[in-house]
């Protein structure tokens, strides 16, 4: 008897713990009034929770704000939050649940490219609408997805130009975490550098596993690579977590930002708030938004965000701005179309303009990408960035890189008559299904 009881105890423990982590769909009291439902698809547990929880909160704040203004089309907005738990296949399941069961009118979500790739077939099949807020590797365009983060030509390429022209860098280390975003970005960057006359021997490419923490040999390789008498820089697509030990090791081995600057594409204010910034001072990051940018919109945004989250020290970052822009555009498009019908909203989206947080305007282009300014910032001791360089005007996002042989001739245009995500301008035809 006793033993049996214990066995039950143990198994229930396991069951409790596993259910504890899986889906927590907060479907609020359903039959209140007719509402417009907005799906929020961000990991609240697992590895990616670190970055994605903030985006969920941003969405809740935006929806609350909109409801205070009287909602949309006379109806209140309702957030449907689901937790895909950093589990890529689960992203697809949760998308299906959001569209088929919850009947949401739009989804704001995903962070990693893998999760987006896993959502893509489902959202196309069910003809949903998604806003993706993170900088990504390009080479994709879907009718049902709006990419509000940066394409490579809005982050990576300008950053490399900055290093080449302003810092006179001659040797390049392309270091990244081993997955699709860094690999594609580095492929584009390498092609770009070679087209600019950089010799192959002056480019060093290095990949490390997720969450890599032992950077000794790689940093010492970089040190050796950089001691050849030519100005060297590291272009880092190293993902979130692994950056801390990387920068620490750089500092410990005596590589300062003056000797070998590191420009990162995945390190923002949120990531910096979790680490000791002393060894990072002077290293660079390229984004389309920094919290330190002085503009009226930004000041107001920071104020409302800190009030909403009830924490005066909380920072804002680039993907948050992307969500704000995406959400405001969606609101405008729904108002313009007068309905939340997916096809009508998708058509209405194109050409919509909303102010961004850096004093300019973001415009939705035919290829479902935005126009964005590119900023280069230097990390300061307080975890903020000082902008040291910015583009003169907004750069239009390009889904298909001009520097890769396979995608050079492709464009994406979701307006009539082309209506295609991968239209070959040479052969003048649409390559039916995208990769």
């Amino acid at each position: 008897m006793n033993i049996n009881f214990k066995k039950i105890l143990a198994t229930t423990l396991v069951i409790i713990s596993s259910t504890f982590l899986s889906s927590q769909a907060f479907s609020a009291d359903e039959k209140k009034k007719e509402t417009i439902k907005v799906g929020v698809l961000h990991s609240l547990s697992g590895t990616m929770a670190i970055s994605e929880t903030t985006l969920k909160d941003t969405m809740l704040m935006l929806i609350e704000q909109q409801n205070k203004k009287g909602g949309l089309l006379g109806k209140q907005l309702e957030a449907v939050v689901v937790d895909p738990a950093s589990d890529w296949p689960l992203f697809a399941e949760k998308t299906r649940e959001l569209i088929s069961k919850e009947k949401v009118d739009s989804i704001f979500g995903c962070w990693t490219s893998v999760s987006r790739k896993s959502v893509l077939p489902v959202i196309e099949e069910l003809n949903g609408l998604m806003f993706y807020p993170v900088q990504y590797e390009g080479e994709e365009s879907s009718k049902n997805i709006f990419y509000t983060g940066a394409a490579p030509n809005q982050q990576a390429i300008p950053a490399v130009n900055y290093l080449m022209d302003e810092i006179k860098v001659k040797r390049w280390v392309l270091a990244g975490t081993d997955y699709v975003y860094p690999r594609t970005t580095n492929k584009i960057l390498k092609a770009y550098l070679i087209s600019k006359g950089v010799a192959e021997k002056d480019i060093m490419i290095n990949y490390t596993p997720f969450g890599h923490s032992d950077w000794q040999s790689i940093v010492s390789d970089i040190k050796k690579f950089g001691s050849a008498g030519m100005k060297t820089a590291v272009v880092s697509t190293i993902n979130g977590d692994a950056n801390v030990p990387f920068y620490k090791e750089l500092g410990n081995q005596g590589l300062s930002s003056e000797d070998i600057p590191v420009v990162a594409f995945s390190v923002g204010e949120e990531e910096l708030s979790g680490l000791d910034t002393k060894p990072l001072v002077g290293h660079l990051a390229a984004w389309n938004y920094f919290m330190s940018v002085e503009s009226k919109e930004n000041e107001e945004f920071i104020k409302t965000w800190q009030a909403f989250i009830k924490d005066k020290k909380r920072v804002t970052n680039d993907p948050m701005e992307a969500h704000v822009i995406g959400f405001r555009m969606w609101v405008k498009a729904v108002e313009k179309a007068g309905t939340t019908d997916t096809d009508k909203v998708i058509d209405a989206m194109i050409g919509i303009e909303v102010p961004n947080m850096t004093g300019g305007t973001a415009k939705m282009l035919k290829n479902h990408h935005l126009t964005k300014p590119v900023l280069i910032g230097e990390i300061q001791e307080d975890g903020q960035f000082d902008v040291v360089w910015k583009t003169d005007s907004e750069v239009p996002g390009d889904a298909w890189s001009d520097f890769l042989p396979g995608s050079k001739d492709l464009i994406s245009d979701w307006t009539a008559p082309i209506k295609c995500g991968n239209y070959n301008t040479k052969e003048k035809k649409c390559l039916a299904t995208a990769k």
Partner: protein
């Protein structure tokens, strides 16, 4: 504001000289000459180029205050007040910035941040600042400062610095500094047009390991003059041989340090899994708890970063140890002899602990500060420097291992642990309370995991996923070393670390890790009980 400055410059100077006349501080004898003040004003410019010029002008004034100004600027502590554009040095205090006036070194009290504007620097300026500070420090009375100044100049020399060095060499008495300066001068001579100077420089530098020397020799080996080309070739060959040797030493050191991390992470598991036979999937989370304990302790004593680490070691042991005992009493005790169920239950616990930490501390990583004695590196020669944090971790790992070894071998608890693990019923018959020993052993293993967390908090991120990264590695080390053998864990940890690091340069980090895993799988096929299998009766059960 307690001070006031007239906007008119002439008046300002008058005012300053008057105030200086009456002030009794040590700077009274230096007059605030025109160029000094002009340069200071230029420093407030928005353009980085202008600021660079200002730094050069400041350095040229040879004013005593320049060095402290430049150092403050480098550390982003130089501000000017928004109201009347006075340049000040500000040190962050709780309620604002405590300011010091640049011109008369007067304390201006505490001012809130909104009244100040920081004089921003970028990388280029930092480079200029460091070079200027180095030149200025040459005349410092502190040998250490002078040595550092000279070392800073490698690869950054120009005609002015070379001249300054030549002049300085005549008065320098310290031998170490003299030899550094001579090396620098000879590196500079490699570029001269005179054949004899070049040849003697090559001869002098034929054992020098600085990258600058090597780069210049690589160019010289194709020199049109055969004598120079031959000399630089043989010098290069010598240098390359030495560099190769130090490279291997460096890799071995990297391997040892990776190995010590592995040993630290695994040694607690060597107790719980190795000695007790419990497959504890929550081991990684016990490490994580140790790391979070470090964070909490550091929050409690923010002004004693170094000391907080020392305090964190016993604290982490207690926290992780008691959580371990709790897990043993509540769950594992009921599952002895059922490995599969233990595995599932402890896996569940690991998820619970992760989510608990996420709820208490937020899913974001927490920043644990590194004390200054743990950052930087010990430079043995230009080609070989050992980073302090890794050095300390190796020592710490060995200390923890020795301690644990002594506990197991020399204390009565250790004897009981061994007795229970060898023959449970016999031990009970001898009057050992087996279940109490189980709990204590599990607590000991868990506590050691917590200590490992303290060390890891210095190397990697303190976040909810910290443990997951180490659980596989820990099991690998224990299985490879031989279950139930502490020495095995030590040797296998170091072996795997070194093997990994020697493979990494030519296989890449991802492949190196895979190759180590494949190697272990093959090894276990041949010797299922690991490097050091247990012998005797205990092995049978």
């Amino acid at each position: 504001m307690t001070f006031f400055f007239p906007k008119n410059k002439i008046l300002l100077i008058l005012f300053l000289s008057l105030s200086l006349l009456f002030s009794s501080n040590s700077f009274a004898e230096t007059t605030n000459s025109e160029p000094f003040i002009q340069a200071l004003e230029l420093l407030q410019s928005k353009s980085y180029q202008e600021k660079g010029r200002a730094i050069e002008q400041l350095t040229a004034t040879k004013d005593e205050r320049v060095q402290s100004i430049l150092e403050a600027m480098l550390k982003a502590r130089l501000f000017y007040t928004k109201e009347n554009k006075v340049t000040v040095i500000g040190i962050k205090k709780e309620d604002g910035f405590s300011l010091t006036h640049i011109l008369n070194q007067k304390d201006l009290g505490i001012v809130s941040k909104s009244n100040l504007k920081k004089i921003k620097v970028n990388n280029k300026l930092r480079g200029i600042l460091r070079a200027s500070i180095a030149t200025l420090s040459l005349s410092s009375s502190d040998t250490k400062k002078r040595l550092n100044a000279v070392k800073q100049m490698y690869g950054k020399t120009n005609k002015a610095t070379i001249d300054a060095l030549k002049i300085h060499l005549e008065t320098e008495t310290n031998n170490k500094i003299r030899s550094e300066i001579e090396t620098l001068l000879h590196i500079n001579d490699l570029d001269s047009n005179d054949k004899e100077t070049q040849l003697s420089a090559i001869k002098f530098l034929s054992n020098d390991l600085h990258p600058e020397t090597k780069n210049k020799l690589v160019v010289l080996k194709d020199h049109s003059n055969k004598e120079i080309a031959a000399a630089s070739q043989s010098a290069l060959k010598n240098i390359n041989e030495k560099l190769g040797f130090y490279d291997n030493v460096n890799t071995a050191f990297f391997g040892l340090s990776l190995g010590s991390v592995l040993v630290l992470a695994a040694i607690g598991l060597a107790i719980t899994f190795g000695v007790m036979g419990v497959i504890n999937m929550a081991h990684g989370e016990l490490i994580m708890l140790g790391a979070y304990t470090t964070y909490v302790i550091q929050q409690l004593m923010p002004n004693y970063i170094g000391l907080s680490l020392v305090v964190a070691v016993p604290a982490a042991f207690i926290v992780s140890g008691s959580v371990g005992i709790l897990i043993e009493r509540l769950v594992i005790r009921h599952l002895y002899g059922r490995p599969l169920e233990t595995l599932l239950a402890t896996f569940g616990i690991s998820l619970i602990l992760q989510q608990a930490v996420r709820s208490v501390f937020s899913p974001l990583n927490r920043s644990v500060e590194t004390p200054s004695w743990l950052s930087g590196s010990l430079e043995i020669n230009p080609a070989l420097s050992l980073t302090y944090n890794r050095l300390y971790i190796i020592l710490f790992c060995l200390a923890v291992f020795t301690l644990l070894f002594l506990i197991i071998k020399k204390t009565s608890l250790g004897l009981s642990v061994q007795a229970v693990s060898q023959n449970r019923s016999m031990a009970r018959a001898m009057g050992i309370r087996a279940s109490r020993v189980d709990a204590l052993t599990f607590g000991l293993g868990s506590g050691i995991a917590g200590i490992a967390g303290v060390a890891l908090s210095q190397l990697t991120n303190v976040g909810p996923n910290l443990g997951q990264a180490y659980i596989i590695d820990s099991f690998m080390v224990v299985v490879f070393g031989g279950v139930g053998n502490l020495w095995g864990t030590l040797i296998s940890g170091f072996t795997l670390g070194i093997a990994n690091k020697f493979m990494e340069p030519w296989a890449g980090a991802v492949l190196a890790k895979i190759m180590v895993l494949v190697f272990i799988i093959l090894f276990i096929q041949k010797r299922p009980r690991g490097l050091f299998p247990q012998k005797g009766r205990a092995a049978e059960s």
